[in-house]
């Protein structure tokens, strides 16, 4: 297949058509912030952290869902992008109840790392402090909606990789929630196989094993892509 020329951050590159901007950036060690992206499952452009500027396009586009085209000129680190990344991060923290100090994922949390990366020293928006449920009904795992950022990685991994489709989404706006089956307690789900893939896919302390406490959490999001690659090899 013929390569196509593109320019990212004034760097001339040649790449295969059909790839997303995010894929090309990662291949060329160009740092792009992401939260809803998880290698191995479909991208949905939900978190809006991977926004890039494309010459000739007025609005910012998400790198994870936009495919490269010949002669595309892309910018990933302009002041405008940095401003939006900071806003998005602050809104993620303000929407639910993120208390890093007592969170099981403290020190191993993608959201916490994001805050450090964008230099979030304070949050300019009023916290909503919603009353969120902590679903402890599963025998092994906890789903704490206080810490969920609605990246839906759990939903996609459960559907696309495990094939169980236990997780889904209900409501809209700030009332949106991850649900198990048709909004039943996780422990009462008839579809959940208790495989634990959602635990590894979750970027925060929203899904965690009951058996561990702060400092013991080990999430391995990389295993999702490994699984998919192995399946392809068998096919």
């Amino acid at each position: 297949m013929n390569k196509i020329p593109i320019i990212i951050d004034e760097k001339k590159l040649e790449t295969d058509p059909g790839k997303t901007i995010l894929e090309v950036c990662r291949e060329n060690e160009i740092d792009i912030l992401t939260m809803c992206h998880l290698k191995g499952v479909l991208d949905i452009g939900a978190c809006r952290l991977c926004l890039v500027e494309i010459e000739g396009v007025n609005k910012l586009l998400s790198a994870c869902t936009t495919k490269v085209a010949a002669n595309m000129v892309i910018k990933t680190n302009t002041e405008r992008i940095k401003k939006y990344q900071r806003i998005t991060t602050e809104l993620l923290f303000a929407e639910r109840n993120h208390v890093c100090a007592v969170c099981v994922a403290n020190g191993k949390c993608e959201l916490q790392n994001l805050g450090y990366k964008v230099g979030m020293d304070h949050i300019r928006y009023p916290h909503l402090f919603p009353q969120c449920e902590v679903d402890t009904s599963h025998a092994w795992y906890v789903m704490d909606h206080n810490r969920c950022i609605m990246c839906t990685r759990c939903v996609r991994v459960c559907n696309e990789v495990e094939g169980a489709h236990n997780w889904d989404v209900m409501n809209r706006g700030h009332q949106v929630r991850i649900i198990s089956d048709f909004n039943t307690a996780w422990g009462e789900s008839v579809t959940c196989t208790s495989c634990g893939k959602c635990l590894h896919a979750c970027p925060t302390g929203a899904i965690w094993p009951k058996a561990i406490v702060q400092g013991q959490l080990e999430k391995k999001p990389g295993i999702i892509n490994e699984l998919m690659e192995k399946r392809k090899m068998k096919l």
Binding site: V134, I212, V213, Q214, G215, Q216
Partner: protein
């Protein structure tokens, strides 16, 4: 009868979380004193709905001085819910970290906060009556005090990587082992730490000799005492059974399981303070005031666990012919005897061949709906009591904190000091400092602000019955 009130506000340095009202009768004599705690935090309420296994992480955030005690009480409650016990090595490491916290807290209380009163004098210039004043006049003592605290904090840091709000104490044991390098590094501290504590004991003993009248009459409330003891009545901080004694030293309860605490302790709310009033249940609210903390622990103990501390303990016991010592001032002395025991015990543990073992955690899961854990925090016996549903979600949390248990006695001690130093509207700076010092004897954790350099800002107002201010004294 015409009543007048003296208001001391705020007692604490920064937040102003506690006020004192001293009520005068129509002759200008003190008739009552109310120690108001104005701070409300609501930990028991907002922990409801969380998983019980999160409590060892959440509850240490109550306090930056005694987080390890909260973690220990919490993991013990979790272990009761799971029905498991920690490993031998985990117990050693927990004990070591608890010793470190106790030592650090006692060093802070004595060298940073209280030694200015003893070395510079209660009525010396308030601007210099602080650790900076000590550093200027007695630089070696100030440095030793700071290093003793550092040693205490290193005992946690070298095991878990953190000085305060430690991680790593988990249900069933510990998440991190102690390495051989860290064990050796900690052992190197022992000689200096023992020497520093003994210097502190020398300071307090000299002060007690020079100020015998004041020490004897300094808030000598005769109360009951509660403390944790080992199987033979020995002094215990980490794990043991409860002992209650009366004001004459008679044992009221012995070897009582902390899980039975509700059989002995009840709490009552008052309408002028957020702090509850716990009391010894069999004696009722009016006669059941008891104290916890270093003074209580040494009053209830039959002996210490280590030789140097035992020698000092025997001198302490002679103060009242083997009966309980009631003066609030002796909290300082007992704190240092405990510190001596801490350092000696740390040496014993660090020399235990099992201390660096990697067998540090037993694993368990939810089995029971209720868990109760206790530990001896620097300020006294601490209880955590959790009730969960069958999934491990917390339905009810009760935290019985040491300072809460000292609350009724603190109130009474303030009243006794006020009776000695307040007569009508005649209030002097010395009185303010003595009221403050009385509270500091208990080293209360209702606010970390008493752990601050310098003087406490106070406003004392003498009010008549209708609230009109007839005299005002300020100190900022």
């Amino acid at each position: 009868m015409d009543k007048r009130k003296i208001m001391i506000s705020p007692v604490t340095r920064i937040e102003g979380h506690a006020n004192i009202t001293i009520e005068l009768d129509d002759k200008g004599n003190v008739s009552d004193a109310l120690f108001h705690v104005n701070e409300f935090r609501g930990f028991e309420k907002f922990c409801e709905g969380r998983m019980y296994t999160e409590m060892p992480t959440i509850t240490p955030r109550i306090c930056g001085i005694c987080p390890t005690s909260h973690t220990l009480a919490s993991v013990k409650a979790c272990e009761m819910i799971q029905g498991i016990q920690p490993t031998y090595t985990a117990n050693l490491l927990r004990r070591l970290m608890h010793i470190g916290q106790n030592l650090s807290s006692h060093a802070l209380s004595f060298f940073h906060l209280s030694s200015p009163d003893f070395l510079l004098g209660y009525d010396s210039d308030p601007a210099k009556r602080n650790i900076i004043g000590i550093a200027e006049k007695f630089p070696d003592i100030a440095l030793r005090g700071i290093r003793l605290r550092k040693f205490g904090q290193e005992l946690s840091e070298r095991i878990t990587g953190k000085k305060i709000h430690i991680m790593g104490i988990v249900p069933g044991g510990m998440a991190y082992p102690l390495t051989e390098d860290n064990r050796k590094a900690l052992l190197e501290w022992i000689p200096e730490a023992i020497e520093t504590v003994q210097i502190g004991i020398g300071i307090i003993k000299k002060f007690m000799d020079d100020n015998e009248d004041m020490v004897q009459t300094f808030a000598p409330s005769a109360t009951l005492y509660l403390g944790t003891v080992g199987p033979n009545g020995e002094h215990e901080l980490y794990d043991g059974k409860l002992r209650f004694i009366d004001e004459h030293g008679n044992i009221l309860q012995d070897q009582a399981s902390p899980q039975q605490y509700l059989d002995f302790i009840a709490e009552r709310s008052v309408n002028w303070s957020y702090l509850k009033y716990p009391y010894y249940k069999p004696f009722g609210f009016d006669k059941g005031f008891y104290r916890v903390g270093p003074l209580a622990r040494l009053n209830v103990a039959t002996k210490m666990r280590t030789p140097l501390a035992q020698a000092e303990f025997e001198i302490f016991k002679l103060l009242n012919d083997g009966k309980p010592v009631h003066g609030a001032f002796y909290y300082h002395y007992t704190r240092l005897i405990e510190a001596l025991s801490d350092v000696e015990d740390a040496e014993r543990i660090l020399n235990d061949p099992q201390v660096t073992s990697l067998h540090i955690q037993h694993h368990g899961r939810w089995n029971y709906e209720e868990g109760i854990g206790s530990s001896e925090a620097p300020r006294g016996t601490l209880f955590h009591h959790y009730k969960t549903d069958e999934t491990g979600k917390l339905l009810k949390v009760n935290l019985l904190i040491a300072t809460g248990q000292n609350n009724p006695s603190m109130n009474r001690s303030v009243l006794e000091v006020a009776k000695q130093y307040v007569h009508g509207a005649d209030i002097k700076e010395g009185m303010l400092n003595r009221v403050e010092s009385t509270i500091r004897c208990y080293d209360p954790c209702l606010s970390c602000s008493t752990h601050a350099i310098g003087k406490m800002p106070m406003v004392v107002e003498v009010k008549d019955r209708n609230g009109a201010v007839i005299k005002r004294l300020e100190r900022f």
